[in-house]
Symmetry: C2
């Protein structure tokens, strides 16, 4: 009961703050963002100290190295946070932009204008930098934000939010962090559709499923990316090699990294041996279908579970297919509608792939790793939406707004 009331009070205060935020000028928001950057720089020591406590506890608990790496802050990582705050300050403000003006035969003038969404609840896992980025994007787009970070990063997040919320000019309650680590808090939060307009869960499948099931508030999930690259019979094999290597190796722990490689049978013998050698040289464990194993007998066999797995690690499954159709069917069955790529010089094959693959971004002759707000020219992003509604793909400032219709009349009524 106490937690419930605490959440209601938090959500009400966020709603109140959201009205003030909606009225802030662009220059006021930018100056707050730059003040936040200064605040973080100044408070670096305290943040690092808090972070040490989190890291120590995580090590004691025996959490994975990958998680501890994402959790750990360094002076240069804090510098990057301040940089991202300044970057968001330099991006154009979507709020107030007129999307369309219509003049109707009866003289009515209808303007469709961008407005903030209102109150956004962001539920995420261990990375403390998300605390800063989500706060910055919410503020710039005129939204209040309620943050629920992973419990492993709780001390770091507390230290960061304390600095952010004390920033000069920031409306009270514009940025709030849920301080309890009780799971009941999130459950209560997800029912407060009177006050909260949007929930963004960003994390593993379990988190997303829970939020989807429990929430009565609209959800924009940032879920898994089980991404494929299909190397077509008409591919430039050198290009294919560079792209596959980049998509798997450059940063394997993220959602737009490659998980399954599909290769047309007619080029498999020419392409795979040196591709596999290069991947193994970078520490990648390769698992292949029976046909792939005939070409590279030393590798492990890929099983049904491999086609379904987002490794987020230096592991790659490879399947040889008989046709573009078979590649499309495999992607339709196992893909997560996130990022899919074809490598081909054949325009027809490319167009068919672009048309038939149902994913937020479909690539021809480019790495899936390029599916990113910065790379797409949207500026910073709060994450990559894996659903179809409202926002799909990189979610930048514009995607954190909605619209309203302003209708100017001089006495018009409905006939």
């Amino acid at each position: 009961m106490d937690i419930k009331n605490e959440m209601i009070s938090m959500a009400k205060r966020a709603k109140r703050a959201s009205k003030e935020l909606a009225g802030l000028s662009t220059s006021a928001k930018n100056s707050i963002l730059r003040n936040m950057a200064r605040g973080l720089s100044k408070g670096k020591k305290g943040i690092l100290k808090a972070n040490e406590r989190d890291v120590e506890l995580a090590k004691k608990k025996g959490l994975s190295r990958a998680l501890i790496d994402r959790l750990t802050l360094t002076p240069s990582r804090i510098e990057n946070m301040t940089k991202s705050l300044r970057e968001v300050a330099s991006l154009p403000d979507p709020v107030g932009r007129i999307m369309k003006t219509t003049r109707r035969p009866n003289g009515l003038v209808i303007k469709k204008v961008r407005v903030p969404i209102g109150v956004i609840a962001m539920i995420y896992e261990a990375r403390p930098n998300v605390t800063v980025e989500a706060s910055a994007l919410a503020l710039k787009s005129g939204n209040a934000v309620i943050l629920k970070g992973g419990s492993e990063a709780q001390s770091s997040n507390l230290a960061i939010v304390k600095i952010l919320e004390e920033t000069k000019g920031l409306p009270e309650d514009a940025i709030q962090l849920i301080k309890t680590t009780s799971r009941q808090a999130v459950r209560e939060l997800l029912r407060l559709d009177d006050y909260i307009d949007l929930v963004i869960p960003r994390g593993g499948e379990g988190l997303i499923r829970t939020v989807r099931r429990e929430s009565t508030i609209p959800v924009i999930a940032h879920a898994k990316g089980l991404c494929h690259i299909y190397v077509d019979r008409d591919a430039d094999l050198n290009m294919a090699e560079e792209i596959v290597y980049n998509a798997k190796v450059q940063r394997p722990g993220v959602c737009n990294a490659l998980e399954t490689l599909l290769v047309h049978k007619s080029i498999a013998r020419r392409f795979l041996p040196r591709m596999i050698e290069r991947l193994e040289g970078a520490g990648v464990e390769v698992r292949g279908c029976p046909k792939t194993k005939r070409i590279a007998p030393g590798i492990n066999e890929a099983r049904e579970i491999d086609w379904q797995t987002e490794y987020l690690d230096l592991i790659l499954s490879i399947k040889i297919v008989n046709s573009l159709k078979e590649a499309l069917d495999h992607i339709s069955r196992y893909g997560s509608n996130h990022s899919e790529a074809i490598i081909t010089e054949n325009k027809k094959a490319a167009e068919r792939f672009l048309k038939e693959v149902d994913a937020s971004a479909v690539f021809v002759n480019a790495s899936t790793r390029l599916h990113d707000g910065g790379e797409f020219g949207l500026g910073a992003e709060i994450g990559i939406s894996t659903q179809k509604l409202h926002a799909r793909g990189p979610m930048g400032l514009e995607e954190l707004t909605t619209y309203k219709y302003l209708v100017y009349g001089d006495g018009q009524v409905r006939e």
Copy 2:
């Protein structure tokens, strides 16, 4: 268990159909729509007969006159259905439209294009014309649709859908009607997020609440409209009278009709007597706050519950306010974020009202009844969304699509 499997099979078939629909040309879709119109004209007799059964049963059950009116079909109402099919055929096709093309410094070309959402489940109440309109809009925007109409209209809907689904050229399973009236069917449907991309509930608060609570699929609610008109101190009182009369009387049973009138105290004595007289002349029951009652002692008193009620009937509550601020506070507290209007000649007051009211459409000097896809120039609409995400306000063809990014490279990787 049987119903569950039936729903899964229906949803799977819809998903399969959606792939075919996404590939249909505009002219193919338009010709199907025109064939549907011919089919309905030809099948008029059968539809009217089926409808008679529904109406008889509804009368036996003692359902309200308003409901029976919405349920009843006549030859001219069927003619209107065929007209709406032809209208949708004449609207521009949003699918495939390029929303934005970006060329990045690394040579990547990124196209953001409109694509269908996929599979849409539409849950609605007694009106059989919604069956036709939802089918038409879904088809034109390339989506498969699963329809769940009110059980009172079941015979009519069965007759209509039988004709629609037999239309020449329509992909199999593109339009499916849930034939059982069991509530379990809807409950099962709302969990099928693997196959269904969007649920649109259109109806009363109970329906919307249930769908929001039960659904793991994204929901775009078409819920209530508790709409206000504020007559400012600087209003043109003749204009105010015409607009208020239109918004309350022209069609009281719909979501954009007026429910509460707010009047500035300084013009109340001049404005209200003749306004109330005219409304009462049209059969409107007027309920007023104590100050209103002092001006018009004959009316009933408005209680707290009145400010919260969407009458959908010839009833109007009136409150006299001391200021624009008090009007804004009342709307913020009781409004449903649907349609709100101010009548004023004062530009500053208008701008403040437009800015501060959080509704999908905010009107100056025009009737709330104009909040409509046709009146806004969007063509037909599937309804008026009362939420902020994805689509807000009239939901036409464009709002029934999403987008995907097509990325054209020549070997780009992530640095």
